[in-house]
């Protein structure tokens, strides 16, 4: 009996002594972010190393599609402390009231580059719920002897496809490169970009998108494998492009044309071509869910990611090469492409659904 008592005491003591030793332990921050790009993963690894002395253990939880986490957050069963989102995923989280108002707490307004129009994410005011991290611009990668010039209209692209059948494709929507490809075509075909900044319900979407479906019907048989299969991701398409199975690949990072050559992912001589008059441009953001168990540490991570050091490292062309959101002068950065405004977020699912109804699932 005495031994039992001693044992119980020992257990109780050891249980209560845990919190005191936990103070020395680093605070974990579970960062849910798309894990499909090794250069980005490497950058997050670097950040994790830099944050260690600050007592933060940054865990990159690699997801194939951040929608996965959005769903868990809306259902209220996620341990995410920090998420990397934009567009429809932000909308869903904002609508479900799942994000903390971090911008005010971090007091970042003054350092961010105001030319970027970061206060609106796919036409939706961010209302302080997310912090811009980087800039995306949509364009095509092509080889020197493939598409001529640095700009191609939708109709010129169709002509090219007719001359070179089977050499072109796009990732299957709802993959976001694929959906943005549709948007770019639509912008180029309609020559009016203002209506798409409004919600789908506010305009005559069917009429506005009609030219796109006519166009895609013509393009479909000219696509790789006659449009019977699509790449699952932009990365997959990139591999086929690199091995001469395709003449175009899609990118959402204006500097990727350089970084990919540096990483030997694509051959020398790969160049960038804007689809339409401008590159669809948006920002991608960091946000802290209301359910975060380590919200304070997550905010410190955001502060670090927006520091000059971290932003310079992010823009480094030997690594990720993502444009900065700060007002910084960076050497040997290719200039941003001419800007086309991103569609309102509601178009995302509208286009995806319409596409899926028309083309094989």
């Amino acid at each position: 009996m005495r031994y039992l008592f001693l044992l119980l005491t020992a257990i109780v003591v050891s249980v209560f002594s845990v919190p005191s030793s936990a103070q020395d332990k680093p605070t974990p921050v579970y960062f849910y972010a798309w894990g499909g790009n090794p250069a980005i993963n490497d950058y997050i690894r670097w950040a994790a190393k830099e944050l260690q002395p600050e007592g933060i253990q940054l865990h990159h939880v690699k997801v194939a599609d951040i929608a996965e986490v959005v769903k868990q957050l809306v259902d209220g069963q996620s341990n995410a402390d920090l998420v990397w989102i934009n567009g429809e995923n932000f909308h869903a989280l904002k609508a479900a009231d799942r994000l903390r108002a971090v911008v005010a707490e971090l007091d970042l307004d003054t350092t961010l580059n105001d030319d970027l129009d970061w206060r609106s994410d796919f036409g939706e005011p961010i209302e302080g719920l997310e912090v811009p991290w980087g800039v995306g611009q949509f364009y095509l990668l092509t080889c020197q002897s493939c598409i001529a010039g640095d700009q191609v209209s939708a109709n010129e692209l169709l002509e090219y496809a007719a001359q070179h059948p089977g050499r072109m494709t796009y990732p299957k929507p709802p993959e976001f490169h694929g959906t943005t490809f549709l948007k770019s075509l639509l912008l180029s075909l309609s020559e009016q970009d203002t209506a798409f900044r409004q919600p789908v319900d506010a305009v005559d979407a069917e009429k506005l998108t009609a030219p796109l479906w006519t166009y895609l019907d013509e393009l479909q048989p000219l696509l790789w494998q006659g449009g019977e299969n699509f790449p699952s991701s932009a990365a997959q398409q990139l591999n086929w492009f690199a091995n001469q199975q395709l003449d175009i690949a899609l990118s959402f990072n204006p500097n990727e044309v350089k970084t990919l050559v540096n990483q030997a992912r694509v051959p020398q001589g790969t160049k960038r071509v804007t689809l339409g008059e401008g590159a669809i441009t948006n920002s991608h953001y960091l946000a802290v869910p209301t359910t975060s168990q380590h919200a304070e540490a997550a905010q410190r991570v955001i502060r670090f990611f927006l520091s000059e050091t971290a932003q310079r490292k992010k823009a480094d062309l030997s690594g990720w090469g993502d444009p900065t959101v700060l007002d910084l002068e960076l050497a040997d950065m290719p200039p941003l492409l001419p800007v086309a405004t991103e569609f309102h977020a509601s178009w995302q699912s509208y286009l995806e659904q319409q596409w899926q109804q028309r083309y094989p699932r």
């Binding site: 499909g36 299969n229 199975q245 699932r361």
Partner: protein
């Protein structure tokens, strides 16, 4: 004192306990989830969206199973199992797919070789033939990967048949080797192969990681589509997932019925042939190409080589036959990130393999004591239910709660039936009189087991553990859905990187996955051979 280890009540209790742990609880969780979840979407709209995928899945499943069955029947003529087979079976699917693709894809190494040899020929292959996204590629990967399993099972059964006596009689009656094989051995083989074949079919119905890498996506296979729909956050998608899961169960059932029907037809057809009594003098002893061990060795080596070269290349674009640059430092710089994954994978696999193995051994010991010499198929039920449905149900019920125990349990549920399946033949055929003799010489029940049975059955025992280990290493869905945050493994990472398109990095992880399993098999085979 009884001749057996535990008493009869203990016996029942133990079996009940094992059934509860590895079969009843997993099923109850699913049943609970199904009965408490209302479905809003109508089956009509779900069928509209999923129907095409369902047909494709059925086609792929039936084709894979039928080709594998015939190849195995034709291929197991007079061949012997060796270590190459075992280690080939152990190659994780993902590693195999990644390596194979590099060889056969339209801009893969073999096409480059043709290109180099025929200068007149222009550019990579343009057709969908074996492209990284096609039904055909998926079929090839699945068939090549499943065939050794069925061959192994066929071999195990053939060894228990009085083949030599049958052959003598058949040849004396003037039957050719070929007719002897198809008219006498095959009919006897079909029944014991039924269950392994069903396992292959069900695996094909619900496999997700392979279609993610090489399968078609317009439409995708049903399991692949359900897996992706499960990411989406609208309520409609959720109902589709539920319907998709139900549809998977239905497909599983239909494909089993079809295979059963095929077996029946085959038996009849062979029977008819036999009745005619025709004999022919032609037909030598030559086996099928797929049965030649060198074919597998060559394939395994080619896949391995391509993985190794990929893991070190820096720039290797079409039509180069050899990498344009190297970067072996990738291994060094990646190592700090591989190490924790290796640790996760190994701990999980060692614990779940040990649990599964112990359960299988206990169960078989009890069966042997009750003098049941046959496999009890009820213990394999978890392999006859599509895995996606099971894991989806668990995930929905418990959430991605990330606890190790929960994950370990889910792995063991799938390792256990394989351990049981691999071990049952040797264990139940073991002549128990050795144990009785040991007991009569004064050994206790435990000593008799450890000092007489275990040394005699060490190889099957070791292989069963290795098999369970390799099953755990290859698990994708349970890890990905139940504990993606706290326990990423080599497999989840390899799939994630490969779908990110960087084959160089994916090869590093695939190789680590392969090496893990290979080491275990070699140790299992080596240790048991050394003491012989």
């Amino acid at each position: 004192m009884a001749t057996t280890l535990p008493t009869l009540t203990m016996n029942r209790l133990t079996r009940a306990g094992l059934a509860l742990l590895w079969i009843i609880v997993p099923l109850v969780v699913i049943a609970w989830h199904v009965t408490t979840t209302p479905l809003n979407a109508s089956i009509g709209s779900a069928w509209e969206g999923l129907g095409e995928s369902a047909w494709l899945t059925l086609l792929v499943t039936v084709l894979t199973s039928v080709v594998v069955l015939f190849a195995a029947l034709a291929g197991s003529r007079g061949r012997h199992l060796n270590a190459t087979w075992a280690s080939f079976i152990a190659v994780p699917h993902v590693a195999f797919a990644i390596g194979l693709l590099w060889l056969v894809s339209p801009s893969g190494w073999l096409v480059r070789l043709v290109d180099a040899l025929l200068p007149a020929w222009q550019g990579p292959v343009q057709s969908s033939w074996l492209s990284a996204k096609s039904t055909l590629t998926l079929l090839v990967v699945l068939i090549l990967k499943e065939l050794p399993f069925l061959l192994l099972m066929a071999q195990a059964n053939i060894r228990q048949m009085p083949i030599a006596r049958w052959q003598q009689q058949a040849l004396a009656l003037g039957y050719s080797q070929r007719r002897f094989w198809w008219l006498i051995v095959v009919p006897a083989l079909l029944k014991p192969l039924r269950l392994p074949l069903y396992i292959i079919a069900i695996y094909t119905v619900s496999v997700v990681d392979i279609p993610l890498l090489v399968g078609p996506n317009a439409p995708a296979l049903l399991a692949h589509q359900v897996f992706e729909l499960n990411w989406q956050f609208s309520a409609g998608d959720n109902d589709w997932v539920a319907w998709g899961a139900l549809l998977l169960v239905l497909l599983a059932f239909i494909s089993l019925l079809l295979l059963r029907g095929l077996e029946w037809l085959l038996q009849r057809a062979l029977g008819r042939c036999a009745i005619t009594g025709r004999r022919s003098q032609s037909g030598g002893t030559g086996g099928n190409a797929s049965s030649k061990p060198w074919f597998w060795t060559l394939l395994a080596l080619a896949v391995l080589t391509s993985l190794i070269l990929q893991s070190g290349q820096q720039g290797w674009f079409y039509p180069a036959l050899w990498p344009q640059g190297w970067q072996w430092e990738r291994w060094l710089s990646e190592w700090p990130y591989i190490a924790p994954l290796l640790y996760n994978t190994w701990t999980l696999a060692v614990f779940s393999a040990t649990l599964a193995w112990l359960s299988a051994v206990i169960l078989l010991e009890l069966q042997a004591q009750r003098q049941q010499s046959k496999l009890n198929a009820a213990w394999l039920i978890m392999l006859i239910i599509p895995q996606l449905v099971l894991v989806l149900g668990w995930q929905r019920q418990v959430g991605p709660d990330n606890s190790f125990v929960w994950l370990l349990w889910s792995h063991t549920v799938f390792c256990f039936p394989y351990a049981y399946l691999t071990l049952h033949g040797a264990y139940l055929a073991y002549p128990r009189r050795w144990l009785w003799q040991a007991r009569s010489l004064g050994y206790g029940p435990w000593a008799a087991w450890f000092r007489v049975l275990a040394p005699m059955l060490k190889r099957p025992l070791a292989l069963a553990w290795a098999m369970a280990f390799s099953i755990s290493v290859a698990q994708y869905l349970p890890t990905q859905w139940l504990a993606p945050v706290t326990h990423p493994t080599l497999t989840t990472e390899a799939v994630s990187i490969a779908s990110g398109g960087d084959w160089r990095l994916a090869s590093v992880y695939a190789l680590m996955q392969w090496v893990s399993v290979w080491i275990i098999f070699m140790v299992a085979l080596g240790v048991t051979r050394a003491r012989n």
